[in-house]
């Protein structure tokens, strides 16, 4: 695994913007950074792929343990959600079952799980489409760990018989356009599979006392939401989820268990010493460690503790539900750029990867850097 500097395409902004990556620059700095790329060997990619498979299998066992032990309070999940989660876990309603494992990996040891974003993962469109087209143009002889697009379409086709004639897709009107276009991309993959869709902003969803409705007051039979469950259940309409006439939620509410930092200590308890896991606990550990909020997002409220002192921390509004402590896994340092590997699953199977690089803490200003398989 190497980081290689490379000259960006002269008109890269126009190129990626033309594809739909309207958030290619943030705060005056490139978010899409093609001034470098990460070069992997096939063996390294296979190691990441195998780790992803293993981690997903462990996640399934962790989910069952949450239900069996009733760990709702530990996970910051309201009690009234417990029966909904247990039922969805049992029935397995149709969904993409997609997610992104964030891994620490430098090519010399096993990939280590940092967290699993399986409720509302982003960095999807750039991983699936933009970096592939970059590779085709800049490194045409190389390969790439990337079958996201095909797997998403295949999964939509797989679940189409269980979907209503129209699937709604909702998101926030985020100022950067990331959520807007990510959802548009998922709608395109659904369309390729013959699924009809319509977009609706999250705040526009209506409630008539027994059903969720779209802006034309049509019942929402199935709803893909790029809006996290921990927010949905705490908002004014949240309780209606339990009482409403059935809406198929994509992704399902059981994702609350796995897209949650509290799963990290549970995994370590269930699989102590597993090479793809880091020691984790609800209590401070010995040695270097990272303190993370149980329900945190985008690198907020994280502290990196090394040698007994905090060497990096981020602010935010999270932490009310408690914290977990995870052993510190140094990210490879390429002149201050420290990449985290986002290894994707669709339907629980490895589907590709995207890399974001930042400092000690990977936050919402991290840069996406494409990759290629060259050896």
């Amino acid at each position: 695994m190497q980081r290689r500097a490379i000259t960006p395409r002269r008109d890269w902004q126009a190129r990626v913007e033309g594809l739909g990556l309207v958030w290619h620059t943030a705060g005056g700095q490139p978010y899409w950074n093609e001034a470098a790329y990460y070069s992997f060997t096939l063996r390294e990619v296979q190691e990441i792929e195998a780790a992803t498979t293993a981690l997903y299998a462990m996640m399934l066992q962790a989910g069952q343990a949450v239900i069996d032990r009733g760990l709702w309070a530990r996970f910051g999940i309201p009690d009234w959600c417990a029966p909904l989660i247990a039922a969805a876990w049992e029935v397995e309603p149709a969904c993409l079952n997609h997610g992104r494992f964030d891994l620490a990996y430098d090519g010399s040891g096993p990939p280590k799980l940092l967290e699993f974003n399986c409720d509302t993962p982003t960095a999807l469109f750039e991983a699936a489409v933009v970096q592939w087209l970059w590779k085709e143009e800049v490194k045409p002889k190389a390969d790439q760990f990337n079958s996201l697009h095909e797997k998403l379409i295949a999964k939509w086709a797989d679940i189409r018989p269980y979907l209503p004639p129209l699937v709604h897709f909702t998101h926030m009107a985020d100022p950067a356009g990331e959520d807007v276009v990510t959802v548009a991309y998922l709608r395109d993959t659904a369309r390729e599979a013959g699924v009809q869709s319509e977009g609706i902003l999250i705040q526009d969803i209506g409630w008539d006392g027994r059903r969720f409705l779209d802006l034309q007051n049509r019942p929402i039979g199935a709803l893909f939401h790029l809006y996290p469950w921990e927010w949905l259940v705490r908002e004014d309409f949240g309780r209606n989820i339990a009482a409403a006439e059935p809406t198929l939620w994509i992704e399902p509410i059981w994702k609350m268990m796995l897209s949650n930092k509290a799963v990290l200590p549970l995994l370590w308890e269930l699989f102590p010493g597993h090479p793809n896991l880091l020691p984790a606990s609800f209590e401070p550990l010995r040695g270097d460690q990272v303190k993370k909020p149980v329900l945190g997002r985008e690198g907020a409220n994280i502290s990196v503790i090394r040698g007994g002192r905090t060497v990096a921390e981020t602010r935010g509004d999270y932490g009310e539900e408690g914290f977990v402590y995870q052993a510190y896994a140094p990210l490879p340092d390429f002149g201050g750029s420290r990449p985290v590997i986002g290894s994707w699953v669709v339907d629980g199977e490895p589907a590709g990867m995207g890399l974001r690089e930042d400092g000690l803490i990977t936050g919402n200003l991290a840069r996406f850097v494409p990759h290629a398989i060259e050896g």
Binding site: G20, A184, Q203, W207, Q216, H225, N364
Partner: protein, 113 residues
């Protein structure tokens, strides 16, 4: 690792990203309502059925708070659709809305991570 020939057919991404660049998210989304011949707003369903008594009325910049309610007279927009713009339905009465989105709306970021 992947298939060597790949085709990305992304008409929704194209339309949405173009609209985003044109309008941004700081403004409301382009909206449309259904009106009768007297420009009185009626239920949107009337514009989805065959027949010529009703037509769409467009607010390319979202209309702000000026979008007509059911039975109200439409003004401030246009009966001519702006080419290349995706128009979204406008809220109507009888249904409560805004019960989702409050937490994310305060954060200033997005719902993904």
């Amino acid at each position: 690792m992947t298939s060597k020939t790949r085709a990305f057919v992304l008409p929704i991404v194209s339309a949405v990203s173009t609209a985003f660049l044109a309008w941004g998210c700081g403004r409301d989304y382009p909206r449309q309502i259904c009106v009768d011949a007297a420009s009185t707003r009626v239920d949107d369903l009337n514009c989805t059925r065959p027949g010529g008594r009703y037509h769409w009325y467009y607010y390319p910049s979202g209309g702000g708070g000026g979008v007509a309610g059911i039975g109200g007279r439409a003004y401030g927009g246009s009966a001519v659709r702006t080419a290349g713009t995706t128009f979204y339905a406008a809220p109507s009465e009888g249904v409560s809305r805004g019960g989702f989105g409050s937490i994310g709306g305060h954060g200033g970021g997005g719902g993904g991570e």
